[in-house]
Amino acid sequence: MTERAPGRPEGFSPGRIVVDGRPLAFEPGDSVAVAMIRAKEVPAGGGTLCLAGDCGNCLAQVEGIAYARTCQTPARTGLRVVRHPADGLPSLPGVAAADPSANPPTLHFSLVRRVVDVAIVGGGRSGREAERDASRANDRSVLVLDANDGEEVAAVYPGPLLVARTRAGMLQVHAETVVIATGAAEIHPVCPGNDLAGLLTMGAAEALYAAGVQLPDAVALGTRPDGVPCAHLGGRLIRFEGAEGRVVAVVTANESTGAETRTPCSTVILGLGRAPRDLLARMAAAPEVTVVGAAAEDQALPPVPTDGIVCSCSGTRVADLEVAWDKGYANLELLKRATLAGLGTCQGGACLPHLRSWIAARQGEPPPPFTARPAARQITLGEAAADTFVDAFRRTPLHDEHVALGATMDRFGSWWRPWHYGDPIAEYWAVREAVSLGDVSTLGKLVASGPDVVEALERLFPCHVADIRPGRSRYALLLDERGHVMDDGMIVRETETRFVLSFTSSGAAYAAMWIRDWIERWGLRVHVLDRTMSLAAINVTGPLAGSLLKRAGLTDPPRFLGHLRANIAGVPCHVMRLSFTGEAAFELHHPIDRSVELWRGLLELGHDLGVRPHGLQALQGLRLEKGHVIVGMDTELDSTPRRLGMDWAVRMDKPWFVGQASLRRTAKVVDQRRLFGFTMAGAAPAEGSPIWSRGDIVGQVTGSWASPVLGHVVMLGWQRRAPFVDHVEIDGREAVLSPIPFYDPEGLRARA
């Protein structure tokens, strides 16, 4: 007795696929569709089979993936096939999962990228000729993608870039030139009864015959199939007749007399002509893409369809076309949208010639084929996303320290950052009442040096720069030409000709580019080096921050907005005295390879002072109490200093700075928008909550925090309609316009 392998169905044996739970034998070389036809089964509900991947009449669920072309899927032992339901849609993976809250299993799709000189799509005669031509040139790398080898090109993008599904995984090909040699597809019949099973194109019949599949009682219409035993009928196709979903007879009409003849049969083989298989060619209209062979040839359109299903993918009948046309959808693109013809699995592969023929009968000329867009072949979302990556998020050198301390990490401003360490309120109080550490390594840090550096910074920033003495620093906005706030940070002067500029975590990279571009444009002699990734920074903040740093070796701390270099806990630091939290704060900028040492040293030295780290959640509250704006969170793309209530950061008496002209112009008009501080009782409303006034939404909350030290909610939010009002409604409660800072408005604690 042999054991049954886990998961294998009853009756399973090698050499069989499993169709709707039943084992079904296949021969070597069979596709799933051929194996099913060999077993006298139909792959799908019916309709003409082409077995060339051109239509949607053999679709089934294969290994859980719906809408798979079974004629293009090689049969292999144990392959699970489930036919789509006759009415309704196939189930999707994961929908029937036992735990609806669980993620569906992760599938990995490999992706190979190739760069070649010439990529040829199609391995037929014209494709091979193109390969020979391309190979004549020395040192030309040539790649042929042949659907018969399982290399299905799903898309051609500008570049050109080919995206293909292969049996080994997804393939992306960057090519200098692309040759489309996809040949021609066989015309499907459109007439009553064309949804019956037992209809084959000539090519399908020849393929089945070559595979040894018997085609009993076969009759052929049109071009006679090569070698396939069948009776050949003359005349014009009128309809198919069927019983229980299968064809039992074909009715033809004499071309001259119109007399109809009914011929009983079990299989009808249709040689009705060909149409260019040009979906990819139409997708890739670009000079680097050429189309050769039958794919480039105009072919005669089929007779005008008068009845039957014209688009089997969408079930569109000729009658549906007539209704839509009469309603005014009187061109190919509109007809496609109105009837869904051409929008299905085969993307018009089978129905497009008939649609053009039908329209030509009404307009005199066939319309050009409709637009082709990816994907030409069904690919799963997993395959489409194969080996693509989400944005890479950076980790500070303290990442593992945060995790070890139990931090909940999240992505902010392109970095992983600690949101909290389990108790954000305790972290908050550590800042307000004792001392706390914050990882601010993510802040942008630029060095600017050169004889023209003051001139450059005066032009770049709206504040005065020349009067910042070495050893001092100043808060600054960065504006664009329209006077909109792009970023903010500190200007820290080290020497007469050298500055350190800090920026926000999310805006630093753009700010660096911005500054370099302007300096280059002005031709000023200034060197710029971005040190963001090389320097870490720890913010030591709270009323006991000075005490902690004294223990760590900082005997002579800088005054507010001062800075100096010193060894802190043995680590060389650039110490900057500023404050975002509203308490005394010292930013310690230091080499990233010393960061863990400094962090641990400070935590150990400050243990009895109650030192603990704080995450972003506490920091958000701390800064809101001070009314400090976060660029990108509280600001919008067109926020001016005036709209933010930050005119104080702009010196219009300067000769010139980027954005000054715009600010001067806009200062003459009444502004309809303004960021305000609000307070209210109760719980903090969600950020983004609408701000109401007299029944209208007049703005939204950008930041809110139930302040432990103040005992009420503090918020920043926009009013978008002048005149601005003092009393508004947020979250169904009254909120009052309040001056900012909400906490320590004199700034005494930060300067302490």
Partner: protein, 130 residues
Amino acid sequence: MLALERLRGIRVVADPAALEAARWVAGSLPVTVLRFAPDDAFALEAHRVEVRDEHAIVEDEIGYVGAWLLPSELADLVVPRLEWPLPVERPALAQGLVAGVPAKLWIGADGGALLITAAAFGEELAGRLR
């Protein structure tokens, strides 16, 4: 998983001509100068530099991690995850996304390469090159 190790050296931003004529003082290991931009160089394993530009920014650079790759490792591990062709000249410095992560490749005359990324991206890149 690819082991990316911290790279050490000197970073200099200076006038291109001065940078061209800079004299790099090595330690026990030979210096490899990576020219990130005409005015920006990272000299691996350099201990000191003499550069004739009084306003040059000269800093110890420890912000990058990297791994030396054999030609076969470059072909197997990195090239399939590039959306851009490798430069054909040797040696060459190429910069772009590797597996979606900002990185640089210094490719030596023998076809071996140094894969470089900012330390902040190190773990992410290593994880994606498995």
